[in-house]
Each structure stands twice: as structure tokens, then as C-alpha cells.
């Protein structure tokens, strides 16, 4: 669905991402891991055209990303970013409905279908009673779920998520990844997730991308990528690797 071919991204004169290639296939979740400043967010931003690429090419459904209009891209790619705060009293329902922007005419009102989709998304995110609450009055975790609900409401195939679980409690972390998983499996979706939680990544991601200084250090399945050398290389810490007794996926324990 998304083919990243040898792209580089510059920030001013520094190259933040260099010669990076990977591809995202339908039904898959890629976890993007790396130390702070490795270029994860920059890379993610470039994938929907928020940041211009200096070199290389990004293909969306085999067509050059740049050939799509903003609206077309937004119909296919939804983003969950480190969220914004607004000074205006926006209700949760209004916020989620704004995710339907790319499907309507700019001028018009949301249709009954838009509303139904928004309400369904709220329900999925365990927010059915929140519709009329004001965004500013929500906790960080509640807001993060609303942001996910909005992304789901777009019905975009591809989700780009930047630390979506940072403020969530354990139950809602699991809920969020279940929802992403479900979207990928039953609706032919795909997702790229930035996270710092190696074990969560190991549990939910089909592929891991380890990023260091703007370059891919390793990519592949978690049991292949999560090696003592790789993780030491990236985070500078010693780890203990074993298997999660429940899922049999790799389990990472930091040694202090």
C-alpha cells in the first residue's frame, strides 16, 4: 500500500532521514523504534506529505504520493499525532466528525452516514457517553482515545500513529492495539506505529523498523530484530531477551 523508496529528509541543512526504504502491506502493522532524535516522527510525517522529502519516492497504492490531492491523501491515510490543544470549546462529537472532512464537500454539513460512523468510532473506543463533553475537559488519556476515534472515523486504510499509547492506562493500551489490529485484519488496513514500548511492539507489530540517526539499522520480525547487539547499539543499554510465556513472542527486559 505504501512503498517508501530510498527517501531522505532534510531539516535545514541536516539530513534527518537518509536513504530509507521499506514497504507497508495491507493487513500489516509496522512498529517504528529508535532512540529520541532518531528521526522517527520526521519519517512518519513525510509519509502523508506533511514534510517534503529531499530525495527518493513515496508510492501510495503504486502512485506517487505527490500526485494525490490533500483530500485524497486524507481519505487514505489517517494520522494520530502528539495531540494539539485548542482554546475553543470543541465537543468530542464535533472533534470526531472533523475526521470526516475529506469525505464531504468543504461547504456542506456532515451526512447521516458521517454521524453514524463517528458514533460507531466513539463506541469502539469506549467513549459512547462522551459525545457532548468538551475536549478541554478531558484527561490526557481520554483525549488520546478521542484522537484514535477520529482517525478511525476517517475510514482511511492506513493509520500513522505517533506514540498513541503514551497517556493510556494498561486496559486502554490493549484496547487501542486491539482496534488497530482489528482494522488491519478485517478491513484490509495497515498501520505504522511509533512507540517506545518494545514489548508492546513485539506483541502487536508484524514488522519492526529500528531507526538510528535517520537510517534503518534493522528491519524484520521482532525475534529477528530484537537482538542484544541491536538494542545496545540503539539504546546503549544491556537487555535480557526471552519469550513471553503467553504469546511466545520475544520479551525484552532492561538490565539496570
Amino acid at each position: 500500500m505504501l512503498d517508501v523508496q530510498n527517501i531522505s529528509i532534510n531539516y535545514g541543512v541536516c539530513a534527518v532521514v537518509q536513504n530509507t526504504s521499506f514497504s507497508l502491506e495491507a493487513g500489516k502493522i509496522i512498529a517504528l523504534l529508535g532512540a529520541n532524535g532518531a528521526g522517527k516522527t520526521t519519517l512518519l510525517k513525510s509519509l502523508n506529505g506533511s514534510l517534503p522529502i529531499a530525495d527518493g519516492e513515496i508510492l501510495l497504492n503504486n502512485k506517487v504520493l505527490k500526485s494525490f490531492s490533500r483530500r485524497e491523501i486524507a481519505q487514505k491515510i489517517a494520522v494520530i499525532a502528539q495531540e494539539n490543544e485548542t482554546k475553543f470549546p470543541v465537543s468530542v462529537l464535533e472533534f470526531v466528525l472533523s475526521g470526516r472532512f475529506a469525505h464531504g464537500t468543504a461547504f456542506g454539513w456532515e451526512t447521516e452516514k458521517d454521524l453514524q460512523i463517528a458514533l460507531d468510532s466513539l463506541e469502539k473506543c469506549d467513549l459512547q457517553t462522551y459525545a457532548n463533553r468538551t475536549m478541554n475537559h478531558l484527561s490526557g488519556g481520554e483525549r488520546q482515545r478521542v484522537v484514535l476515534a477520529r482517525a478511525l472515523a476517517t475510514e482511511a486504510e492506513i493509520l500513522l500513529l505517533d506514540e498513541p499509547t503514551a497517556n493510556l492506562d494498561l486496559a486502554h493500551q490493549a484496547l487501542m492495539f486491539r482496534l488497530i489490529r482489528e482494522k488491519c485484519e478485517t478491513r484490509n488496513g495497515a498501520a505504522i506505529v511509533i512507540t517506545h514500548d518494545l514489548n508492546l511492539a513485539a506483541e502487536f507489530a508484524d514488522e519492526i523498523l529500528l531507526l538510528k540517526n535517520g537510517k534503518i539499522l534493522a528491519k524484520g520480525a521482532s525475534e529477528k530484530v530484537f537482538t542484544e547487539e541491536n538494542l545496545h547499539e540503539i539504546f546503549g543499554v544491556k537487555v535480557l531477551l526471552d519469550k513471553n510465556p503467553a504469546s511466545a513472542n520475544v520479551r525484552v527486559t532492561t538490565l539496570y
Partner: protein, 324 residues
């Protein structure tokens, strides 16, 4: 399209009808009041002239100016994600005022030069404030207000410099006009301003849904399909047009763009598809009321309407700033 879509739309519709009714009533009552007592059902020739050539054009222009400033305020606030953004406080009004003055000094014989120069001045001031307030980290409230203050005071000092080059008689008319004064209303002035209101309202309502996303965040809006640059340009251009024509007609009537959208949001929430048209109606009501006070409070003398709006607006600004 089935528009049973949430009951707030019905509420919005009712609120809109109520505002139109109140605006009509306000205009009607305002025509009954003035420094001359007229019984509007029994007029002699002179009283007809007073009503139709003096009082009515002024009321209509006041309504149009109020709508312009409230529209500009509402849209700039959403675009800049800042409930304190206001044409007067951002220096946009002063840009328009300086433009008008330059047209007055250099092209006094062309009446149309004033709104054109006012539009150019407003656009330039908007652009400069925006460039100053923008930083790599985005734009925060304080930075924007500060940039507005800097541009406002800078333009004020140029205006003061210019006025000191004018002779005393011109100076007096300018100082009065700078405070916001509707006494020079003509029916042609109203037509021009009203045309700007119609154009501005259409452009802004077309961008209202995009503004709903911009209000949440520029990056966010971009991610969800808004052509951010186009929307920004549309809002800057239409608010400059609205402020330019309003200022050319009536000077700097302050705080309308601050108070009115705020009250509208309190009543019906933040959806710009409602906030924008309703701010236009409420702005019209507000300025017609304020100007009625300006016309009759010390009749047969007159106050500048800008003094009345500032009297209400300045305390409200402080209240909003503290709450922020």
C-alpha cells in the same frame, strides 16, 4: 441528504432566525431614535431627508461595519487558534487606517482610493503580524498578541507622524475618524461595505469546515485533508477586505471582532459554520446599538462609536485574557 444530523443544527437554525429577527428589530428601533424627533408615519419633506438620507444610511452602514468586523474576528480567531485575535488588536485596523490616510493625503479626489488603500494596508499588516508571530514551534497566544501590539504601535506612530504634517483642521477630522466614527455615512458607502460583507461571508462560510479543523491545529488540519495554505490565504484576504472597507468607511471601531464571536460561541458552540454567519448578524446588532448610543447620548452633539465599543470591549478583553 437527511439533515436530522444532531439536534444542535436545529438549535442553530432557531438561533439564526432569532438573530435575524433581533437585527431587524434593532434597525427598526434605531430608526426611531436620533437627535431629531421624527414620527415616522407622518413626515414632511425635510424629515424624510433626515430619515432616508442621514439616519438610515448610517444605521445600515453601522450594521455592515459591525458584520465585517465580527466576521474578520471570528475567522481570524479560528485560523490563528486564538480567541484573542481581533483586527483592532492585531494591527489590521491600523494598517487599514494608515492606508486610508495615505489615500486621503495623496488621492483625495478619488473616493474609491480609500477602500482600496485600506485593503492594501490591512493585508500588509496581517501578513507582517503573521510572519512575526510564526515560529518553528508554531504560534502561541502571547507571541501573537505581542506581535499585534508591536505592529499596532508602530503603525500608530506613523499615523501620528502623518497627522503632525496635516494642518489643524484636517487633524481634528482625522483624530475623530481614527476613534471610529459613523457620522460620514453615505448610502454608497453602505453599498460598498455590504458588497464586501456578502463576498466575505461567502468565502468564509466556504472555508468554515476547514476552519473547524484549523481551530484544532494547523498540522492536524493538514493531516485530515485541509489545504492549509489555501484556507489561510482565503481567510487573510477576506478579513483584509472586510476590515479595509469597514475602516475606510468608519475608522477603527475596536473590539467588535473580539466580543461578538465570543458571545456567539458561548451561545451555540464553536462550529464555524454557525459561528461565522451568526457573528455577522450579532456584529451588526452590536454596532447599530453602540452607534445609537453614540448618536443620542449627548444629542445634538455626538460621540465616536469606537469609544462606545471600546468602553464595553476593553474590560471584556481583560476578562478573556485572565481566563485564558
Amino acid at each position: 441528504m437527511n439533515v436530522q444530523n444532531s439536534k444542535f443544527k436545529v438549535q442553530g437554525f432557531r438561533f439564526g432566525i432569532a438573530l435575524i429577527f433581533v437585527l431587524g428589530l434593532t434597525i427598526f428601533l434605531a430608526t426611531l431614535l436620533g437627535s431629531e424627533n421624527l414620527s415616522i408615519f407622518d413626515l414632511n419633506e425635510q424629515q424624510k431627508t433626515i430619515l432616508f438620507d442621514i439616519r438610515l444610511p448610517r444605521i445600515l452602514l453601522g450594521a455592515s461595519v459591525g458584520a465585517s468586523l465580527a466576521l474578520a474576528g471570528a475567522s481570524l480567531q479560528s485560523l490563528l487558534r486564538n480567541p484573542l485575535a481581533e483586527p483592532y488588536l492585531l494591527g489590521v485596523s491600523n494598517g487599514a487606517a494608515l492606508g486610508t490616510m495615505l489615500a486621503f493625503v495623496f488621492f483625495a479626489q478619488f473616493e474609491l482610493a480609500r477602500p482600496v488603500f485600506a485593503f492594501a494596508g490591512a493585508s500588509l499588516a496581517t501578513f507582517v503580524v503573521y510572519q512575526m508571530a510564526k515560529s518553528r514551534a508554531g504560534m502561541n497566544v502571547e507571541r501573537l498578541v505581542l506581535s499585534g501590539v508591536i505592529v499596532t504601535t508602530f503603525l500608530s506612530s506613523i499615523i501620528v507622524l502623518l497627522t503632525s504634517l496635516l494642518d489643524a483642521a484636517k487633524l481634528r477630522s482625522f483624530t475623530f475618524w481614527l476613534l471610529g466614527d459613523l457620522s460620514q455615512s453615505t448610502i454608497n458607502g453602505f453599498y460598498l461595505s455590504f458588497a464586501a460583507v456578502i463576498i466575505g461571508t461567502i468565502i468564509l462560510i466556504k472555508n468554515a469546515r476547514a476552519l473547524n479543523l484549523m481551530m484544532i491545529g494547523e498540522r492536524d488540519a493538514f493531516d485530515f485533508g485541509v489545504e492549509v495554505n489555501k484556507t489561510r490565504l482565503a481567510v487573510f484576504a477576506s478579513s483584509s477586505l472586510l476590515v479595509g472597507t469597514a475602516v475606510a468607511a468608519s475608522g477603527s471601531v475596536g473590539y467588535v471582532g473580539l466580543i461578538v464571536p465570543h458571545l456567539v460561541r458561548l451561545a451555540i458552540g464553536s462550529d464555524n459554520r454557525l459561528v461565522i454567519p451568526f457573528s455577522a448578524l450579532a456584529g451588526a446588532i452590536f454596532v447599530v446599538l453602540a452607534d445609537t448610543v453614540a448618536r443620542v447620548a449627548i444629542a445634538p452633539r455626538e460621540l465616536p462609536v469606537g469609544a462606545i465599543t471600546a468602553l464595553i470591549g476593553a474590560p471584556m478583553f481583560i476578562y478573556l485574557l485572565r481566563r485564558n
